[in-house]
């Protein structure tokens, strides 16, 4: 497998990370090196092996549907890059 510049641009777009024209060749080379390492998995026979998602194979606990948090809206809003009247401000999305 070898990623092309178009592949790298598409991955960067999906990851929402701006990659400049100057960076794309070097980034592509590094990703290809990493995938070269990862490809070694494909030679291994894993038929009938259950995927392991969690070391204890535990399932998620259920909890009562009850209020567990106190209202700290002002504390959390204070961390926002741009906020006004209790709302997070972002560039216009709907024309």
């Amino acid at each position: 497998m070898s990623l092309t510049q178009q592949d790298v641009a598409r991955i960067a777009k999906l990851a929402r990370i701006a990659v400049t024209e100057q960076e794309i060749t070097a980034v592509g080379q590094q990703l290809n090196d990493i995938f070269g390492l990862i490809e070694k998995m494909q030679a291994v026979n894993t038929d009938h092996v259950e995927p392991m998602a969690h070391p204890q194979d535990a399932s998620l606990r259920l909890r009562a549907d009850a209020v567990a948090e106190s209202n700290r809206r002002d504390d959390f809003m204070a961390l926002a890059p741009q906020a006004e009247a209790g709302l997070f401000l972002v560039p216009k999305v709907i024309e």
Partner: protein
Amino acid sequence: MINATLKALSQQLAAGAVSSEELARHYLDRIDALNPVLNAFITVDRDKTLLDARAADARRAAGNAGPLTGVPLAHKDLFCQQGWKTSCGSRMLDNFVSPYDAHVVEQCKAAGMVTLGRTNMDEFAMGSSNENSWYGPVKNPWDIQAIPGGSSGGSAAAVAARLTPVATATDTGGSIRQPASHCGVTGLKPTYGVVSRYGMVAFASSLDQGGMMAQTAEDCALMLNVMAGFDKRDSTSVERAAEDYARDLTRPLAGLKVGLPREYFAEGLSPEVARVVETAVAALKKQGAAVVDVSLPNTALSIPSYYVIAPAEASSNLSRYDGVRYGHRAAGYTDLIDMYEKTRAEGFGAEVKRRIMVGTYVLSHGYYDAYYIKAQKIRRLIANDFVEAFKSCDVILGPVAPTAAFDLGSMNNDPVEMYLSDIYTLSVNLAGLPGMSVPAGFAANGRPIGLQLIGNYFGEARLLNVAHQFQLATDWHTRAPAL
């Protein structure tokens, strides 16, 4: 006083030989003097620390002190701590002052421990050299040309340089054990689920586990008693009865079966690390331990499996950094997508971006089964290897890293070369087992070398017992760098 262990400080405080405020001032002065060179701390706040210390002294005067009340510690800058900047080594969180405490921080506060500051680390805990920090690399106190290891390099360097008696840390693929080895301190990564991940900035959620570094195994046991425990806010926290992790420290090693995985002593291991490990095995044998040959045949596959699973989980976890609710936001942008892309391009460093992109790709449509599911199947094979090996031994012993610490700047243009150096630590995280690094010797150039001990699930007390007995028979853990 600088070489005093947690245990000794606890006794001195209890005896009234020293106050918490005196201790805090002593360590803060040492940090002021040495941190400009070592860069082990990202944030130090003298006023906050002294406030904590006076409160601990008042608690002791009121007769409510516990064993670690008034003892200072440092937190890896990844555990959220209310009122402290929690940067995770990233520009993305350079302006983030946490509004809440991680479970680990709550536990340390409840014990009355005093925070000296927040330690440096590879950005979002991704790295093996600490060169990926937005705040610059940490220097190894034994040799400032050397890396301290990563990602918990600041915690390891701070303990080694005696800037703190103990530090919290986290381990996703070796981030406690490898820096502990490179800096000559004792580190423990518990079984996955023993320490709550609540308030730990997430990297790879099925692998991340909090732990600690200190001078001795005994100190690690005392700290684990404080840090461990069920927490319902972490969905993978394990519900088990509380235990005293120091209970087995004095148990003799006679009859202990130590497994040596032959794959850990194969090609790639430097002769001087092999020599140190062999000498340690001889010391354990002298104490009555028996050596058993074991095999972990899928060891080499831990690298590809880990470097799929960890980036996949990271790409998902780090999608939250979008410049909207907290953290960095780019200054100029044309629309919402442009804001996301510029914010993330500026806020993340090169290694974090690489891993997000690898993760994004392996989770993308059409590739999920070939990469992510395949990696999870191999993860199962790796875990099964350990189950098989532990049928014939009590603990597994091997190297932590193939070499002693390498030079700063010598590997940071080659991510793959760096990944390969994680060969002996990754599989422990994939399996979810507890692991330790214990000081065991030095390379010819004077850089420390650690010994890795791997325990069975929830076998921390036994692991700490072996490490403690080893430390009763050796003095490597008492060596400190000349500073």
